[in-house]
Subunit: 341 residues, 2 copies
C-alpha cells in the first residue's frame, strides 16, 4: 500500500491547475504553448516586434492588505503592465504573473487577485501565459507584459524636440487623491470623489490611445510616478527641457476645497494616463485621429537646452501671470519610498 | 535660485544609470531598445519563436542574507531562468530582472547581486534588457528569461511515451547537499564536498545540451524541485507512468558517509540539470550528438498507464533486487515550503 502522500496532489500543482482553468485558450494569436511547461512559447505576427515590460507591486508600498481589495490589486497590477505597453504604442498580447503569496491568506484571496488580473487582461484583449509562485510573509507581485508592435513604430521617450507640444490624457492626480481616501478610510461624498477612488482602485491603461499615437507622437511614456518625475525622465532621455503651463493642467478637482489638486496633478502617481509630445505640424492629424473619444490636454511645450541652463532644472512651471519657476521632480522614487505623496 | 532637490538626481534614476552602464550594448542580436524606456523592444530571428519564463527568488525561502553571498544570489537567479530555457531547447537571449531591494543594505550589495547576474548572463550569451526596482524589508527577485528557438522545435513536457528511456544530465542532489553545508556553516573537507557547495552557489544551466536535444528528446524539463517532483510533473503532462532504477542514479556521493545521497538525488532541488526522455530508436543519435562533453545517465523508463493503476502513483522506484515501490513526489513545493529537504 503506497503512502497516502503519493496520491495527494501537491499544493503547487493544484493551484496551477486552478490558474490554468481560468485562462481562455486561444484567446490571442501567437501563443504556441501556455501555462504548464518550463516556459511559454510565443510567436509574434510576421514583421512585428515585441515590447516587454516588468512591474513590481509590493505589499506595504503599492498596496495594503485590509485596505486594498485583492481583486483591485490584481486589476491594478495588470494595468501597470498594460500601461507600459500603451506608452510604447504596443498592442496588448500576453501577461506573465509571478506571485509571492502571503502564507496567512486562504486560497480564496489568491483567487480574488487572479480574478482582478484576468478581468484587466480580458479588457485589453491579452491573455495570461505563465508566471511563477512562491509563498512568504508579505505579498510581492511582478507582472510581465508583452505587446506586439509593427516593426520600427514603437513610441519612445527620446524623440521629443524643442517646439513639440506636450499632451496628457485624462485627468491628473485622481489616483493619488483616491489613495488618500483609501488610506484614511474616507467614504466618497460626491461623484468627483467616487471617480477618484475608482481611478485608484481600477485604473484604465490607454492602449487604444497608444496605438493611435504611432507615427504622430515624437515621444511618449505613461504617467505612473507623477508628471514632474515622468516628464523629467522624458526630457532627460530626449536631451531637452520643458515648460508646463500651470493653468492648463487637467486637475482632479477645483481649488478651494481643502485639497491641493495642483500638487496631486504634478506629483501624484498611478494615474496610468499617457504623457506624450507632438510636433506642431502633426497637431491637426492628432485631433483627426483621436477625435473626441478621449480627453487630451495640451499642458506645455518642449524647450531647447540653452548652454547657460545646462546645470539648471529641466522643467519649468509657468503660472497664469506668465512667471516661471523651476519644477523639481517630486513624484514617486522607487528607491526612496518615503517621498511618496 | 532653484531648490537644491531640483539638481539632485533621484535615487532610482542614479541606480538605473549604473545598471545601464553594466550592460554591453548590442551583445545579442534582436534587441531594438534596451533599458531606459517603458518597455524593451525585441525582434526574434525570422522563423524563430520565443520562449518566455519567469522565476522568483525570495529571501528566507531561496536564499538567506548573511549565508548566501549576493553575487551567488544574482548568479543563481539568472541560472534559474536560463535553466528553463535549456529545458525548452531554447537559445539564451534576454533577461529582465525585477528586484525588491532590502532597505538596510547599501548600494554595494545591489551591485554585487547585479554582478553575479551579469556574469551568468554573459556565460550564456544573453543580455540584460530591462526590469523594475522597488525597496522593502526583505529581498524578492523575479527573473524573466527570453530564449529563441526554431519554429516548432521546442522541447515540451508532454511528449513522453511508454518505452522511452529517461535520462538526467550531471549529478543529482549536489545542490541540496551544498545547501545543507551552507545552512550549517560546514566548511567543505574534500573535492566532493567543494564540488557540491559550488553547485549550490554557482549552478550551471544546461542550455547547450538543451539545444542538442531538439528533435531527439520526446519530453524534457529542468530539475529545479527534485527528481521525484519533476518527473512526476513530466509524467502527468505526458499521461504516462515511469520507473526509476535506484542503482543507476548518479549520486553526489557514496553510501555510508553519514549522508543519504539517494534521498538528496530523489528529492533535492536546485540542481538545474536536465531531465528528458528519448525514444529507443533515437538512442544512438543521442550518443552521437552529445558525445562525451557532458555526463548523461539513463535512470529509468517511461511506462504505460494501466487501467487498474490509474489512481496509483505515477512513479515507481526499482531497487537493485528488482523490487519496486511507489515513489512519491517529495521535492520542493512552492506553496508548501516546509516540505523542503
Amino acid at each position: 500500500m503506497p503512502p497516502k502522500t503519493a496520491l495527494r496532489q501537491s499544493d503547487e500543482n493544484a493551484w496551477l491547475d486552478w490558474v490554468r482553468r481560468q485562462v481562455r485558450p486561444a484567446a490571442v494569436g501567437g501563443l504556441r504553448l501556455g501555462i504548464g511547461d518550463d516556459a511559454a512559447i510565443v510567436r509574434p505576427r510576421s514583421g512585428w516586434e515585441i515590447a516587454v515590460t516588468t512591474d513590481l507591486m509590493i505589499e506595504g508600498t503599492h498596496f495594503r492588505r485590509g485596505i486594498d481589495r485583492p481583486e483591485d490589486c490584481g486589476y491594478r497590477l495588470a494595468m501597470r503592465g498594460l500601461s507600459d505597453l500603451a506608452a510604447m504604442g504596443a498592442e496588448p498580447w500576453m501577461l506573465f504573473f509571478s506571485a509571492l503569496w502571503p502564507k496567512d491568506e486562504p486560497p480564496a484571496w489568491r483567487r480574488s487577485v487572479h480574478r482582478g488580473l484576468t478581468q484587466a487582461a480580458h479588457a485589453a484583449g491579452a491573455t495570461l501565459a505563465g508566471g511563477d509562485v512562491s509563498s512568504g510573509v508579505h505579498a510581492c507581485f511582478d507582472i510581465v507584459a508583452l505587446g506586439q508592435i509593427p516593426r520600427g513604430q514603437a513610441l519612445r521617450r527620446d524623440g521629443a524636440r524643442p517646439g513639440d507640444r506636450i499632451f496628457v490624457s485624462g485627468t491628473l492626480g485622481q489616483a493619488a487623491w483616491g489613495r488618500q481616501m483609501l488610506d484614511h478610510g474616507h467614504i466618497p461624498q460626491n461623484p468627483r470623489e467616487r471617480s477618484a477612488l475608482r481611478r485608484c482602485q481600477r485604473p484604465c491603461a490607454r492602449w487604444e490611445l497608444g496605438e493611435k499615437l504611432r507615427g504622430l507622437a515624437s515621444a511618449a511614456m505613461d504617467l505612473s510616478d507623477g508628471l514632474s518625475s515622468d516628464l523629467d525622465r522624458l526630457c532627460a532621455a530626449s536631451g531637452v527641457h520643458a515648460r508646463v503651463d500651470e493653468t492648463s493642467l487637467p486637475l482632479a478637482g477645483p481649488a478651494g476645497v481643502g485639497q491641493n489638486f495642483l500638487a496631486l496633478a504634478l506629483h501624484g502617481g498611478e494615474d496610468y494616463e499617457l504623457l506624450f509630445t507632438v510636433p506642431r505640424r502633426k497637431l491637426a492629424a492628432l485631433t483627426q485621429r483621436t477625435g473626441a473619444s478621449i480627453q487630451l490636454t495640451e499642458v506645455g511645450e518642449i524647450l531647447p537646452v540653452r548652454r547657460a541652463r545646462k546645470s539648471q532644472p529641466r522643467l519649468w512651471l509657468q503660472a497664469g501671470n506668465g512667471r516661471s519657476q523651476p519644477l523639481a521632480p517630486q513624484g514617486w522614487d522607487a528607491l526612496r519610498p518615503h517621498t511618496r505623496h
